[in-house]
C-alpha cells in the first residue's frame, strides 16, 4: 500500500513536471510579437505612406517611358528585352500592394472617423492617376477584382478602356469630396499643403489628360477636354504644379534625396547614363535649359569637338564606340556615340559593358534632381554637391498643360503656337529657377561672363522655335511640338511615351544602335510578380500589344523612328 502511494506520488510529480510547471504546453501562441496588427492602423499614417509611395511610382514609371523615347538612355539592344517582366515589379507593387491596399484600409478608417472626405478625395485623385498610368503602360490591368483577397485571390484583368472610364469617374467623385467644407484637412499634404482648390485643379487636369490620350478612339474626347480647358480650372501656372519635393536627409532609415541624385552624386562618380540624343538635340538647338538638366564632368568627349573647340581623340578604353564607325542605318545628321562639348552619354539601345567612365560621364543637373548647375566647372561629382538632392519629381507641370492644349489645337485646326510659346516659357522659367539650389554655382549671365542664359537669349530661342513651328508643314509642327514637349518632360517621361504612341512623332529620334531592335514597346510585359502567381494574368507573348487608345498601325511600321 505504501509502495503504491509512493509510486503514485512519483507519477503525479513527473506528469506535473511535463505538463504544468512549464510554459511548454501553452497552445495559444498565434499572435506575432514582431508586428502590430491591422487594428492599429492610423489614417494619417496611411496618408503619409500613400503619398510617399505615389511619388516613387510616378518617378519610376516616368523613367520607364523616358528611356523608350530617348529622354533617358535605354541600355537594351532590343525592345523586347528592354523591360523584362521582373523590371516593373517595383512599380506594380507600389500601386497595388502598397497604395491601393492602404487606400482600402484608409478609406474605411476615414469613413468611420467621419469628416474625412478630403482624405478620401486625395486618395481617389492619386488612385486615378495611378490607374491611368498602369493602363498607359500595360493595357488591361486588374481593377474591379483587385485588393479583395478574400473574394478574388487571383484577380482577373479589366478591360483597359473600362479602367480609364472608372478613373475618370473617380476623379469626378474626388472633386466633390475635395470641396466638402465639413471635412478636416490632411495631417501632412506633401503636394499641395492642404490647398484643396489645387487638388481640384489637378483632378481636372488629369481628366484632360485622359481625354487627350483617348482622342483617337473617342470622337467626343476633344470636346470634353475643351470644356474643362474653357473653365480655366486646371493646372495652368507654375504655382499649381503637381510635384513632389525631395529633401537632403539621408541615413540608414531614409534616403530623402531624389533617386536620380542618389545614383549620380556618389563618391564613385555618376552611375547612370544620359541619352546622347537628348543632349545633342538640346546642344544643337541652343536650348537654354541644357546646363540645368545636365552636369558635365569633362569637357571633351572622345572623337568629338570639346567645349573649347579643340578636337578630342578617340579613347576606346573609356568610350568604346569612339573608335567605331557610325552604324550604316543612321542618317548623316544623327548623333552617334560622341556628343560635342563634353556631353558624354550613350546611344539609344547601346548595352555594352561598363568601362571606367563614371568620372567622365555627364550626370543629372540641378533640374529636376537637385544636383549641380553646370557652370562649366568640369569638376567630378561627389556626395552632397549642388542642391543635395532636394529636387522634385514633376508629376504634372503647368507647361505640360499648355503642350496639351497645343496638341489639341493642332488636331482640331486651332491656333497652337500661342500654347507652344507659353509652354516653353513656363518650362524654361521653372527650370531656370532651380539654379539657385546649387549654392556653389556661378549663376552670372552670359553677358556678365557667366553661363546663365539672358532673358533675351531665352526669348530668341522661343521665338525661333515658334517660327519653325509656324512655318513648317504638319510633320514639322508635330516634330517641333514633340521635341519641345519631350524636353519639358525631362524628369518624367510618361506623357512623352504616350505622345509618341499617340502621334508617332517626333520622327527625328535617334535609332537604336542595332539595326533590327524588334518592334517598339507598345505596351509592357506584365510584372513577373503578378503574372507568375496569377493564372488569370497571362503573360504577353511580346511587347506589340497596343493599349486601347492606341489605334495607330500595328508594329512594325509604327512609330517610324523605332
Amino acid at each position: 500500500m505504501k509502495k503504491i502511494n509512493k509510486i503514485s506520488v512519483l507519477l503525479i510529480l513527473l506528469l506535473g513536471l511535463t505538463f504544468t510547471s512549464c510554459e511548454t504546453t501553452d497552445l495559444d501562441l498565434v499572435n506575432d510579437p514582431n508586428q502590430v496588427t491591422v487594428v492599429n492602423g492610423d489614417l494619417e499614417r496611411y496618408m503619409t505612406a500613400i503619398q510617399v509611395d505615389f511619388k516613387s511610382f510616378a518617378n519610376a514609371m516616368g523613367g520607364n517611358g523616358a528611356s523608350l523615347v530617348r529622354i533617358g538612355q535605354m541600355g537594351s539592344v532590343n525592345y523586347v528585352n528592354a523591360f523584362a517582366p521582373a523590371s516593373t515589379n517595383f512599380e506594380w507593387r507600389l500601386a497595388y500592394s502598397n497604395m491601393f491596399s492602404d487606400m482600402k484600409n484608409a478609406e474605411e478608417l476615414a469613413t468611420s472617423l467621419g469628416a474625412r472626405n478630403k482624405h478620401i478625395g486625395v486618395m481617389k485623385v492619386l488612385k486615378a492617376y495611378t490607374l491611368m498610368a498602369l493602363v498607359d503602360y500595360f493595357g488591361d490591368v486588374p481593377f474591379s477584382e483587385a485588393t479583395n483577397l478574400a473574394d478574388f485571390p487571383q484577380p482577373n484583368l479589366d478591360d483597359d478602356a473600362s479602367v480609364y472610364a472608372a478613373a475618370i469617374s473617380m476623379l469626378d467623385d474626388a472633386k466633390t469630396l475635395l470641396q466638402d467644407d465639413e471635412s478636416i484637412s490632411i495631417g501632412v499634404d506633401y503636394y499641395y499643403n492642404n490647398n484643396f482648390d489645387k487638388w481640384v485643379k489637378l483632378a481636372n487636369t488629369l481628366k484632360m489628360n485622359a481625354y487627350l490620350n483617348t482622342r483617337l478612339v473617342d470622337g467626343d474626347a476633344i470636346n470634353k477636354l475643351n470644356a474643362i480647358a474653357n473653365s480655366g480650372n486646371f493646372i495652368a501656372s507654375t504655382a499649381d504644379d503637381f510635384q513632389f519635393r525631395y529633401d537632403v536627409v539621408v541615413n540608414n532609415q531614409i534616403d530623402s534625396r531624389h533617386p536620380g541624385y542618389q545614383s549620380d552624386y556618389t563618391a564613385g562618380g555618376v552611375t547612370g547614363y544620359q541619352s546622347n540624343w537628348m543632349m545633342d538635340q538640346m546642344l544643337q538647338d541652343g536650348d537654354p535649359r541644357i546646363r540645368y538638366y545636365y552636369y558635365r564632368q569633362n569637357e571633351c568627349t572622345p572623337n568629338s569637338i570639346g567645349e573649347d573647340g579643340a578636337a578630342c581623340a578617340p579613347n576606346p578604353e573609356a568610350l568604346f564606340c569612339s573608335t567605331q564607325a557610325k552604324p550604316v542605318h543612321y542618317p548623316g545628321s544623327m548623333v552617334f556615340c560622341s556628343v560635342e562639348n563634353g556631353y558624354w552619354g550613350r546611344d539609344h539601345g547601346f548595352g555594352g559593358g561598363i568601362p571606367p567612365d563614371t568620372f567622365l560621364r555627364t550626370g543629372r543637373g540641378v533640374y529636376p534632381v537637385g544636383g549641380n548647375y553646370d557652370d562649366s566647372r568640369f569638376a567630378s561629382v561627389g556626395l552632397e554637391q549642388g542642391g543635395g538632392g532636394a529636387g522634385i519629381t514633376p508629376i504634372w507641370l503647368a507647361s505640360w498643360s499648355h503642350f496639351m492644349l497645343a496638341e489639341v489645337a493642332l488636331v482640331s485646326g486651332g491656333a497652337a503656337s500661342g500654347y507652344l510659346q507659353d509652354a516653353m516659357q513656363i518650362s524654361i522659367d521653372k527650370t531656370m529657377s532651380f539654379g539657385s539650389l546649387d549654392g556653389e554655382a556661378d549663376l552670372s549671365t552670359t553677358d556678365n561672363g557667366g553661363t546663365v542664359p539672358t532673358s533675351g537669349t531665352v526669348s530668341d530661342y522661343i521665338s525661333a522655335k515658334v517660327s519653325e513651328f509656324n512655318n513648317g508643314d504638319m510633320a514639322t509642327k508635330w516634330n517641333v511640338l514633340g521635341l519641345q514637349s519631350f524636353v519639358a518632360h525631362y524628369g518624367n517621361g510618361s506623357n512623352s511615351y504616350n505622345y509618341y504612341r499617340r502621334t508617332g512623332y517626333p520622327t527625328t529620334l535617334q535609332f537604336t544602335v542595332e539595326p533590327t531592335p524588334g518592334n517598339f514597346v507598345r505596351s509592357f510585359f506584365y510584372p513577373a510578380d503578378e503574372a507568375t502567381p496569377n493564372p488569370n494574368v497571362a503573360q504577353k507573348p511580346n511587347v506589340d500589344g497596343q493599349v486601347f487608345w492606341d489605334n495607330n498601325p500595328s508594329s512594325p511600321g509604327f512609330p517610324s523612328a523605332n
Partner: protein, 1074 residues
C-alpha cells in the same frame, strides 16, 4: 529468451549476489574475437545463477563458480559459448565467433530505445566511432558526407565553420525545413543557421551542428524513413541523426576507468583554385583597359593580339600606373594621386589570387574519461575537446571548446538517475560572403570572393595599396568601383560567438522486470553573439554600407523538452513463441528564439567600433516561440524471433495556429527473417542471413512562425520625421494546415558467403498539402505573400549498401570494400491553381515547383527558341533571351538533383596497419555557377586562352530564319553569350563530380610493445580530405567544385553566386587510450 538477453545487458551486473558453496573455484582466462584481438565487456555468467562478470579491457576475466556448473560467454554480435566447469578447470580462454544473423545487432531507435536490428522493419544506418573521430573536418555534418546511402550534405563553401545542410532521402517540402533532426543522447539539438543577412547581402554564419564535438561520439544511428521516426513527431519528418556520445552512453564499461586522449593537426588549403591563363591581360576586345574583364592584349608585343599595337603602352610595354590616372583618386585624393605621378606599371601576368589564400591549420585535442564505482552503482563521464580551425581565407577561423560532465546512480534497486551537461563555446569569424553575379556584389554587403576571383591577370593586388590616406578602399579601376580584396579582409568582419549549454536529467523507475517509467527533461540553449562590421570607405556602392556600419545582435534559442514514457518489455506468451513490448509516452517541447541588437551606420572615427562612434542607429529584433505537445505509443510483437511487427503512432498539437493545429500520424513496420524461419535456407557457404522488411510511416510538418497573423508595418521615418503605416505584403491564413508525409519502404538485408553484406531499400514518398510559408500571390490582391497549403509531391528512391570482405584472414591481411548508392527522383504532381511557385532565390531566377518537374527544378530566362526548338540568334550574332516558355511560364533551366550518388570505401588492414580511401561519384545535377560563368565570361582561365579566332553560335537568325552565320569575337562569345547574357540558362552547368573524399593510413602499436607502458592502445593516423576532385562536365580550367550553395542553408538548390571555394585538408592524429 528475451528476458535473458536484455537482462545480461542491463540487470545482472547490478545484482552481485554472493553465493557461497563448497568446491567453489576461481576461474580466469582471456576472451578474444575471431581475429584474436582481446574482447572487452564480454558477459560471463554462471549458468542458472545471476552470478557473473565481464571481461576487462584486455579481454581478461576472473569469476567464481562451482564444479558442475557451466559458464556462458556472450557478447553482442557473437555466438554465445557455454563451457563446463570441472575440477580441473582453472583457466578458460577462448575465441568467440561472429554471429552472422545478428549483423551488428543492437541499434538505437527512436527515443533512444535500443533494438535488435533484425526486429526493425525499416532502414537504420549506423556509423561507428572509428569513422568519425580524428577526422580532418571539424564539422561533424561534413564528416558524415558519403558515410551512408541516402544522406546528402551540402556545404556552403570551404570557409571553416560555414553553414551546411543535411538532407536525408531528398527534399520533401519547399517551405519547411528539410534538414534532418539532430538528437544527442535523447536530447533534440538545434541545427539552426543564423546567417548575417540573406544570401544577397550577407551569407555568413555557422550551422549550429558545428557545436558538436565529433571526438566524443561513440555511435551515430541514422533513422532515414518515416516508419523509423514517427515517435519523434513532426520534428522527425526529415530523418533523425541519433548521436550517442561517449559520456552519455548507457553502455556498461568493463574497466573501472577508461581514458582516451587524442590530438591532431591538419593543414587546410583551398581546393578549387582555377587554372588561370597567363597569355592575356585586362581589357576588352583585345584593347587594354583597367576593367574587370581579362579580354585585353597579350603579354607579348608582336603579332595578332599583342600589346605592340595598343596606344596605352609605351615602347617598354609599360602602362601608366592606375593610381596615376584614376579619376576617382583625382577627384577625391589629388595629393595622394600626385605620389604616383609618372609611375609606370609593368605588363605581365601576375598570381595574386593564388597568393591570397594561405595554408590554414586545424589543431585539436580531446580527452574522454569514464569510470564507475566498484559496485557499479555510480558512474561518471567527462569529455573535453578543443579545436582550432584556421581557414585558408585570411580572417577566417573557428574555435570550439566542449566540456561535458555526466553521471548516473542507482539510488535504490528500482530508481536510477542520470544526467549530463555539455557546455560549448564556439567562436567563428570570417570575412563577409555575399552573392555576386560577377561584377562586385549586387546587394548592399561586401563579399570577399565576389571581388577576388576575377582579378585580371595583369593586376597584382599586393602591388596596389588598398588604403587611401583616410582608410578608404582604393583599387585599380578608374571609378574605383571594386572594393580591394585586401581592404575587405582588413576592414570587413563578421563574427559569431556562441555559448551553448545542453543536457538532460532523467529518472528511471523499474516497477518490476517488465514495467519501467522514465522521465527525461532536457534543455538545449545557445546564445549567439553576432558582430558584423565594416569600416567606412568601402566600395559596395551602397551609401549606408560605405559610411561604415557596426551591427551587434544576440540570438538566443532555447529548446526545452520533457518526455514521460511508460514502457513494458519482455512479455512473452505461448511458450515464449510470442513476444510483446509496449510503450506509451507524452512529450512537450518549447522552442523560443529571440534576436535583439543594434545596427549603427555612419562611422565617425575610422576603425573605432563602438555604437557611440556612429551617427545613425537602427534596431534588430525578432521573436518566435512555438510549443509542440505530443502523445505517442508503440506496440511490438515478435513470433519466434523471426517475424517482428511494430506499430506506432503519435498525435501532435502545435501552438501557432488555432485551427488545424493537431494531427495523428501512425506507422507500421514488419520484418521477417527467412533464414530463421526456414532453417534449410541458411548455409555458411551460401546465404548466411536474410531479412525482408516493409515499413509504412507518416509524419507532418506544421507551419513555423506566425502563419495566421496579418500585420501592419510601421515606419517611424516614413518620410523625414513622419510615421507611416502600410499594409504588410504578407497576409495570414487562418486555415493553414500541416503538410503531410507518407512513405512506404521495402528492404532486404543479406549476408552471403560469410563475406558479403547487402542492404537494399526502395522507398516511395508522397507529400500533400504542402505549406508555402511565403507563397507569392498576385500583387493585385493588395498583398504579396501568404501562407498556403497547396499541391503534392511524389518521390521515390533506392538506397543500396554493399559490404564486401574481399580478403578476410583472422591474422594478416584484410581488405574490405563498401559501396553505397543512392538515387532518387521526385515529381511535383499538383500545385493547385498556380503555374509555378518560386520558393527560393529570386522571383525570376530560382527554385520552383511546377507540375511535371522535379522538386528543386531551377527556373530562369533561357535562350529564345523558335517553334521548332531552334535557338534564336539576333542580328549581331548573339543569343536572344526568353523570359517565358511556350506555356507563358518562367522557363525551366536545370535540375539540380543528381541522377545518383555513389560512394566507394576501401579499407586494407594488415596487423596494426590500415589504409583506407573513399571515393565519391555524384552523377548529374545541374548548377547555376556564377563562378564558372564569370571566370569564362571574363576570360581568365586556360579554357579561354585560345581566343583570337571568331565564333559562330549554333542557332537560327531571327531576322532571316536561316542558320546563324554571323561571326562574333571572343568577348561576344564568352561575355555577351555567357554570364552577361540575359539568358540565365547559359550559366547552368552539369555538376557531376568524382571526388577522392578521404584517404587515411593508421597504425596501432602492437599491444606487446605497450605492456610496460600505461597505454592500452596507441594509434597514429594520417588522413587527408578532399585531396582531388573533378567536375568533369564543367570547363577544366575553372576547376569548379559543385558542392557549394549560394542560397545558404535554406531550401535553395543548385545556385552558386561566387560564394567561395572548397577546402582540402591533410594531417595527422595520435590517439591514446589507457
Amino acid at each position: 529468451m528475451r528476458t535473458k538477453f536484455s537482462g545480461i545487458l542491463t540487470l545482472l551486473l547490478a545484482f552481485v549476489v554472493q553465493l557461497t558453496f563448497a568446491q567453489e573455484k576461481t576461474i580466469s582466462g582471456t576472451v578474444s574475437d575471431n581475429s584474436g584481438l582481446p574482447l572487452p565487456g564480454v558477459n560471463i555468467i554462471v549458468k542458472g545463477t545471476s552470478n557473473g562478470t565481464q571481461s576487462d579491457f584486455d579481454g581478461n576475466y576472473t569469476v567464481n563458480a562451482n564444479v558442475g556448473q557451466a559458464l556462458v560467454f556472450s557478447y553482442v554480435g557473437f555466438n554465445s559459448v557455454e563451457r563446463a566447469v570441472t575440477a580441473a578447470t582453472s583457466n578458460i580462454s577462448l575465441q568467440l565467433t561472429e554471429d552472422a544473423e545478428s549483423l551488428e545487432e543492437v541499434v538505437v531507435t527512436a527515443l533512444g530505445i535500443k533494438k535488435e536490428k533484425k526486429a526493425l522493419g525499416y532502414a537504420v544506418s549506423s556509423i561507428k566511432e572509428e569513422a568519425i573521430k580524428d577526422n580532418p573536418e571539424t564539422d561533424l555534418t561534413r564528416v558524415l558526407q558519403g558515410k551512408t546511402a541516402g544522406i546528402e550534405i551540402t556545404t556552403q563553401n570551404g570557409i571553416s565553420g560555414s553553414a551546411n545542410k543535411v538532407i536525408i532521402r531528398g527534399m520533401n517540402s519547399f517551405s519547411g525545413n528539410n534538414n534532418a533532426l539532430y538528437v544527442i543522447d535523447g536530447v533534440p539539438y538545434s541545427n539552426d543557421t543564423n546567417a548575417s543577412g540573406d544570401f544577397v547581402d550577407g551569407n555568413s554564419g555557422s550551422s549550429r551542428s558545428f557545436d558538436i564535438d565529433p571526438n566524443n561520439i561513440e555511435n551515430i544511428d541514422i533513422l532515414k524513413g518515416l516508419a523509423a521516426t514517427t515517435l519523434y513527431g513532426t520534428d522527425g519528418r526529415n530523418g533523425v541523426i541519433l548521436i550517442t556520445t561517449k559520456t552519455g552512453s548507457t553502455k556498461n564499461i568493463s574497466a573501472k576507468q577508461e581514458v582516451n586522449i587524442s590530438t591532431s593537426y591538419f593543414f587546410n588549403e583551398v581546393a578549387s583554385l582555377p587554372d588561370y591563363q597567363d597569355k592575356y591581360g585586362g581589357g576588352f576586345d583585345q584593347a587594354f583597359g583597367w576593367f574587370y574583364s581579362n579580354w585585353g592584349p597579350g603579354f607579348y608585343e608582336e603579332g595578332l593580339g599583342g600589346w605592340g599595337s595598343d596606344a596605352a603602352f609605351d615602347e617598354n610595354g609599360t602602362l601608366a600606373h592606375p593610381y596615376s590616372t584614376s579619376a576617382f583618386l583625382g577627384a577625391n585624393y589629388p595629393d595622394y594621386q600626385a605620389l604616383y605621378e609618372g609611375a609606370r606599371y609593368d605588363w605581365k601576368p601576375r598570381n595574386s589570387v593564388e597568393q591570397f589564400f594561405k595554408t590554414g591549420g586545424v589543431s585539436s585535442i580531446s580527452a574522454n574519461f569514464k569510470g564507475r564505482s566498484e559496485d557499479n552503482k555510480f558512474n561518471y563521464g567527462m569529455a573535453f575537446g578543443q579545436v582550432e580551425d584556421e581557414g585558408f581565407t585570411p580572417g577566417n577561423k573557428v574555435t570550439r571548446t566542449n566540456l561535458t560532465v555526466s553521471g548516473g546512480a542507482k539510488l535504490t534497486n528500482k530508481l536510477n538517475v542520470r544526467g549530463s551537461m555539455t557546455y560549448t563555446k564556439t567562436n567563428f569569424k570570417t570575412p563577409p560572403v555575399a552573392a555576386s553575379f560577377g561584377s562586385s556584389t549586387f546587394g548592399s554587403g561586401s563579399s570577399i570572393f565576389g571581388d577576388l576571383y576575377y582579378t585580371p591577370r595583369s593586376i597584382d593586388f599586393y602591388e596596389l595599396p588598398y588604403e587611401a590616406p583616410d582608410g578608404s578602399s582604393i583599387y585599380y579601376r578608374d571609378d574605383n568601383a571594386i572594393q580591394h580584396p585586401l581592404w575587405t579582409i582588413q576592414n570587413a568582419k563578421f563574427s559569431q560567438n556562441v555559448n551553448r549549454l545542453n543536457g538532460f536529467a532523467s529518472l528511471d523507475y523499474n516497477f518490476n522486470d517488465n514495467i519501467n517509467l522514465r522521465y527525461q527533461g532536457s534543455i538545449d540553449t545557445y546564445s549567439e553573439n553576432n558582430v558584423n562590421k565594416q569600416n567606412r570607405g568601402g566600395r559596395t556602392g551602397d551609401l549606408v554600407t560605405d559610411s561604415g556600419f557596426y551591427s551587434t545582435w544576440n540570438n538566443t534559442n532555447t529548446i526545452s523538452d520533457h518526455n514521460l514514457v511508460l514502457s513494458g518489455n519482455n512479455y512473452s506468451f505461448l511458450n515464449d513463441n510470442l513476444g510483446f513490448n509496449f510503450m506509451a509516452g507524452a512529450t512537450s517541447r518549447n522552442r523560443k528564439f529571440d534576436r535583439i541588437g543594434i545596427d549603427s551606420f555612419g562611422q565617425q572615427v575610422f576603425d573605432f567600433f563602438n555604437h557611440e562612434g556612429f551617427t545613425d542607429y537602427g534596431y534588430i529584433e525578432y521573436h518566435e516561440e512555438r510549443n509542440i505537445v505530443g502523445l505517442y505509443g508503440q506496440l511490438s510483437f515478435d513470433v519466434n524471433n523471426w517475424v517482428f511487427l511494430n506499430l506506432s503512432g503519435r498525435q501532435d498539437w502545435v501552438s501557432n495556429t488555432s485551427k488545424n493545429n493537431t494531427l495523428f500520424y501512425p506507422s507500421a513496420s514488419m520484418s521477417f527473417i527467412p533464414t530463421s524461419a526456414f532453417k534449410g535456407m541458411k548455409s555458411d557457404k551460401g546465404i548466411n542471413y536474410m531479412k525482408l522488411r516493409v515499413g509504412y510511416g507518416t509524419s507532418a510538418n506544421f507551419s513555423s512562425g506566425y502563419p495566421t497573423a496579418t500585420g501592419l508595418s510601421l515606419n517611424t521615418q516614413g518620410w523625414l520625421d513622419e510615421t507611416e503605416n502600410t499594409t504588410n505584403s504578407f497576409v495570414g491564413n487562418p486555415n493553414i494546415k500541416p503538410e503531410l508525409f507518407a512513405e512506404v519502404e521495402y528492404g532486404v538485408e543479406m549476408k552471403l558467403f560469410s563475406r558479403v553484406n547487402l542492404d537494399l531499400t526502395y522507398f516511395t514518398r508522397i507529400t500533400e498539402d504542402l505549406i508555402i510559408g511565403n507563397n507569392p500571390i498576385p500583387l493585385s490582391t493588395g498583398a504579396g505573400f501568404t501562407s498556403t497549403n497547396v499541391g503534392e509531391i511524389k518521390s521515390w528512391g533506392i538506397e543500396a549498401e554493399l559490404g564486401l570482405d574481399v580478403l578476410k584472414r583472422s591474422e594478416g591481411f584484410n581488405w574490405n570494400v563498401n559501396v553505397n548508392f543512392f538515387a532518387n527522383e521526385s515529381e511535383v504532381t499538383d500545385i493547385g491553381d498556380n503555374d509555378i511557385l518560386i520558393y527560393a532565390g529570386f522571383t525570376n531566377l530560382g527554385n520552383g515547383a511546377r507540375v511535371g518537374y522535379p522538386l528543386g527544378a531551377m527556373f530562369g530566362s533561357r535562350i529564345a527558341r523558335d517553334e521548332d526548338g531552334n535557338l534564336l540568334v539576333d542580328g549581331v550574332g548573339n543569343y536572344l533571351a526568353d523570359q517565358v516558355d511556350e506555356d507563358g511560364v518562367l522557363p525551366f533551366i536545370g535540375d539540380p538533383n543528381p541522377d545518383f550518388v555513389m560512394n566507394y570505401t576501401n579499407t586494407f588492414e594488415y596487423k596494426g596497419l590500415s589504409l583506407g580511401f573513399a571515393i565519391n561519384h555524384t552523377s548529374g545535377g545541374d548548377i547555376y555557377s556564377t563562378t564558372t560563368a564569370t571566370l569564362m565570361g571574363r576570360g581568365l582561365t586556360t579554357d579561354t586562352e585560345n581566343r583570337l579566332s571568331t565564333y559562330i553560335l549554333p542557332g537560327v537568325n531571327i531576322n532571316t530564319g536561316l542558320p546563324n552565320d554571323i561571326q562574333i569575337n571572343n568577348s561576344n562569345f564568352y561575355f555577351d553569350n555567357g554570364f552577361a547574357s540575359p539568358a540565365d540558362e547559359l550559366s547552368v552547368y552539369d555538376g557531376s563530380v568524382v571526388r577522392l573524399r578521404e584517404v587515411n593510413v593508421a597504425y596501432s602499436l602492437p599491444s606487446k610493445l605497450l605492456n610496460k607502458t600505461p597505454f592500452g592502445k596507441v594509434t597514429i593516423k594520417a588522413s587527408a580530405f578532399n585531396m582531388w576532385y573533378n567536375a568533369y562536365n564543367t570547363p577544366d580550367g575553372v576547376n569548379f567544385d559543385p558542392n557549394t550553395t549560394g542560397l545558404g542553408a535554406g531550401n535553395g538548390q543548385g545556385f552558386e553566386f561566387l560564394t567561395g571555394p572548397s577546402s582540402k585538408r591533410y594531417g595527422m592524429s595520435v590517439n591514446l587510450s589507457f
